[in-house]
Symmetry: C2
Subunit: 317 residues, 2 copies
């Protein structure tokens, strides 16, 4: 008997019970840690007004799907939960004393290239810590991140730690024109150093400046790679417990593909998977755009990717 | 300090941690029963091709949102999980031996009137039992339904049980023209007996036939209300354990608003809530439209409504 094929949207998939059981176990493990650490779960609508999502800033992921509702409102399926939670904090927690701690388990939707195996709809698990500034807030987020991953049983992961303000500062210092900066940051966010070099060559820069803009973001390692600009990151790791600190690799070229990051940024890697399992960082300006200025930090894990990494570790061991 | 208002789409809402904790507890209780009863959880994309949803049949709920993706495909946010699971069964379980048992926890989207307090996006928890025909399959669904509600702590609910084929048979018997039937069934699905009477008066029927078409669907009660046409429902309740049987009220006018129901249909009522918490029924024709003809039965509960009913029962007690 031949199965009849009924197509599903490009970049989406069905999850059958055996896999679903494992995904649920991962989510339950994460939720246990989020709950223990005092992060209260929030749910928001899958659709947001496009004007709300636009406050997340330009240069972020394109919304995968846009719709007009029967009131003529332009809506889009959310591309993350950080922007919706910023909206909730500004509207429902306008006078609540910080710090505020929230978590979520929610599908996000992005415009991606399905032939690379990226999903247009994916389950994210994450936390947002609002009103906890600087190194202390960032250190808490990293501690909760590692506790969450540990709870799932993942063993060999590392956390890349960088600073979203570092490369923009280098670009300004080298005199790269404003209008060329977004394109360079995009190449960096996709780790396309060939593309970065091509774009740098097209600019009229000194050989020394170009060299610096190409090599600095490729530097990774322990604290010895941090120069004078690394005081902020050094302050973060000094607050980390030893087991978390041992996971950190400094990565001076780390740039996240979401536009709202302002300071420390991080990504989770695992030998069981060829791409990041998730990541996060500081977004100290975003809440102000919604009318409740609070420094903030958070992270999101892609539950599917975490599952693949766990399976990969089992296979490698 | 005044909160800044950032709108959310009409008919949607944010759920904050205190409520979310209670919703999670309800979902966990339901999942525990579904799992114990052998129903494996499935997840499907939020969006489906409109052509797939159309196989669910005309007359069902309108999709709340429709989008065109970058390949030009016309997609819509699913309005239930029964149609997506029928698709999954036809494509991924084309040769699996029945019966098949699946469950889900998934957001569904419908075009509703928000001013009535109905939600456009809502979390449904439900099961589908595929390849279990007739009274035995229906009895299992009712047993799992009541075990699930019991597990959440709901105490005073009742299950209305009717037959989706009953009123269409009465309409045919009375000689109501085909083209008038859908309108009459729609009035009945919304329990609008005034509208039903108005539509019946517009038809040229004998006074006796009109009276019968108006009064029969208002009959509710114990087994004594079942006439000769009620043999199918009587067979179902005879298979039910006493505690489940005690919950059942026969309702000869019960018509669900989804177009694929073919036989027994049911709805859950509770004194804590003015509208059904959920419901289900037999859909013996739907899977055939996807290429794997199997008789089927299922139910869906709206988790939010169940939560309101539980809160209402506490207040009433």
């Amino acid at each position: 008997m031949v199965a009849v094929i009924h197509p599903i949207p490009s970049g989406t998939r069905d999850v059958l019970p055996d896999e679903m059981r494992e995904l649920r176990a991962i989510s339950d493990a994460l939720r246990g840690v989020f709950d223990r650490e005092g992060y209260g779960e929030i749910a928001t609508p899958s659709l947001e007004h496009e004007s709300v999502l636009a406050r997340g800033g330009a240069g972020g992921p394109l919304p995968a799907y846009r719709v007009v509702d029967d009131h003529g409102a332009v809506l889009a399926l959310r591309s993350d939960m950080t922007v919706p939670i910023a909206r909730v904090v500004a509207t429902r927690y306008a006078t609540a004393d910080p710090p505020l701690r929230f978590c979520y388990f929610a599908n996000a939707f992005r415009s991606v290239r399905p032939h690379r195996g990226q999903q247009r709809e994916f389950l994210q698990a994450g936390v947002e810590l609002l009103g906890a500034p600087g190194a202390e807030g960032t250190a808490e987020a990293l501690r909760v991140l590692c506790a969450s991953l540990d709870a799932t049983g993942l063993e060999h992961y590392r956390v890349g730690l960088g600073d979203a303000s570092l490369y923009p500062a280098l670009l300004a210092e080298a005199g790269v024109p404003e209008e060329a900066r977004a394109g360079l940051l995009h190449e960096l966010s996709t780790r396309d150093f060939v593309g970065l070099e091509r774009k740098l060559r097209a600019l009229s820069l000194s050989g020394e400046a170009r060299e610096r803009l190409l090599t600095v973001p490729q530097v990774r390692g322990g604290e010895e790679v941090l120069g004078d600009g690394g005081a902020g990151l050094r302050a973060v790791v000094e607050l980390l417990p030893d087991d978390v600190r041992a996971r950190v690799i400094f990565d001076l070229g780390l740039v996240r593909d979401l536009a709202y990051y302002t300071g420390a940024v991080f990504e989770v890697y695992d030998p069981g998977l060829g791409q990041p399992i998730g990541g996060g960082g500081r977004y100290d300006e975003l809440l102000g755009r919604f009318g409740r200025p609070l420094p903030a930090v958070g992270f999101a894990l892609t539950v599917d990717s975490l599952h693949v990494a766990l399976t990969g570790e089992e296979r490698l061991s």
